[in-house]
């Protein structure tokens, strides 16, 4: 198959499957994007894990546990999709731990109050959903199928988060204040989740051509803002952007400038929690080493025993 034939398949919306011929750059781009996405799901469990033992009720605790378990599942669906491209799980994990692979910048922010469990579900999962719904139609079959599975589960994540915030907003003045303070901290980092502005995102054009990406960063960001502003208004919360206003002509919200310097600092490893997040992952991996070994040893022993019996 030639590059032109490959592009023709993509243009006809025919999915690419693992054993199909593909340009090396397509494979590389996918491995980078899917594994980065998988790492984000896994590292993303940490900020929420921080609140499991302090959830205010058994109901909230059960919900939070179920949500975090879903995120582990999402990580696994995605690792499994990336492995079909010929990269081993082990090397992906290595890339995460050595800092060669990135994960979403959002998870380098701390979860300081219970309201943050609401903001994470409402805004962080909300932003992730915008991205993931678009990716259900991505050109690589295993990635698209993983996304469909993930999207089915995400809706609960966002709704439970919104419910947490809504409950606080209907509570005491102090509780509502806690919700507002949390929104103030998460709003801008949530907008950064969509990645750099289109003009600063050199890979977007090729990714769109290959239909790995179906919408640009700015398109998805705008969609998120338009969807979220009314949700905040309903709660009586104020989005911390003085320049935010409805533009009748565009039929979209206009919004203020994002602090891109902060974004690039966090990506470069200088966010509030980068070191702690990676250290936690590395520690879990190291301390699980003996379990992985023991399970393999047990399986080999069982196999031998079964042979002797047979």
């Amino acid at each position: 198959m030639t590059q032109a034939q490959f592009q023709a398949r993509i243009d006809a919306d025919i999915k690419i499957e693992p054993k199909d011929w593909m340009p090396e750059a397509y494979r590389k781009t996918l491995i980078r994007q899917i594994s980065q996405h998988a790492h984000s799901e896994i590292v993303g469990m940490l900020p929420e894990g921080n609140w499991i033992t302090r959830a205010p009720s058994l109901r909230r605790k059960a919900i939070l546990l179920a949500k975090i378990q879903d995120e582990a599942g999402h990580g696994l669906y995605l690792y499994s999709a990336a492995e079909t491209l010929g990269k081993t799980r082990e090397s992906m994990i290595d890339d995460l731990h050595t800092g060669k692979a990135k994960y979403s910048s959002i998870f380098n922010y701390p979860t300081l109050s219970w309201a943050d469990m609401g903001s994470v579900g409402w805004l962080v999962d909300g932003a992730a959903i915008m991205n993931q719904v678009a990716l259900c139609r991505t050109s690589y079959g295993p990635y698209a199928r993983a996304m469909v599975r993930i999207c089915k589960e995400e809706s609960f994540h966002q709704r439970q988060g919104y419910e947490v915030i809504m409950t606080l907003c209907r509570g005491t003045a102090a509780q509502k204040q806690m919700a507002q303070e949390s929104l103030n901290r998460w709003w801008w980092p949530a907008l950064m989740m969509f990645g750099p502005k289109d003009e600063d995102s050199p890979n977007t054009e090729q990714a769109m051509k290959w239909r790995i990406k179906r919408f640009t960063n700015d398109e998805l960001r705008q969609r998120f803002i338009d969807a979220t502003v009314p949700q905040a208004e309903f709660l009586g919360l104020t989005i911390p952007d003085p320049d935010l206003k409805w533009n009748e002509e565009r039929q979209h919200y206009d919004s203020g400038n994002i602090n891109w310097e902060e974004f690039y600092q966090v990506i470069a490893g200088n966010g509030p929690c980068n070191t702690a997040r990676l250290a936690a992952r590395q520690k879990a991996h190291d301390e699980g080493e003996w379990v992985r070994e023991a399970a393999m040893a047990y399986s080999k022993k069982q196999e031998q025993r079964n042979k002797q019996v047979a």
Binding site: K19, G73, R145, E153, S299
Partner: protein, 93 residues
């Protein structure tokens, strides 16, 4: 480092339906593969039965040969019921 083998997971979503491929996972043995598959792929009652097959045991046709492999059935339209003209009076057949 001890790498657990890769398993392909197939799930029957409801009694009476086929097992369908849902993805893969790593596990030390078949039993663990099934237990992990339950946790990863059936958290919301998506299945009533799980098959786990070690990935190395799956043999796939080569997509580059798809044309020659499936082409021959393309020129045998008489295998399809619509190939035959049956008078309307006969009704459904």
């Amino acid at each position: 480092m001890n790498n657990w083998p890769l398993w392909e997971i197939f799930i029957r979503s409801r009694q009476g339906l086929d097992h369908k491929h849902v993805g893969s996972l790593h596990a030390a043995d078949a039993q663990m593969a099934i237990e992990n598959a339950r946790d990863v792929y059936t958290r919301r009652m998506e299945g009533v039965s799980i098959w786990a097959v070690e990935s190395t045991n799956i043999h796939a046709s080569n997509p580059d040969e798809a044309d020659s492999l499936y082409e021959p059935s393309n020129d045998k339209p008489y295998r399809h019921p619509t190939f035959y003209d049956i008078p309307k009076e006969i009704g459904h057949m």
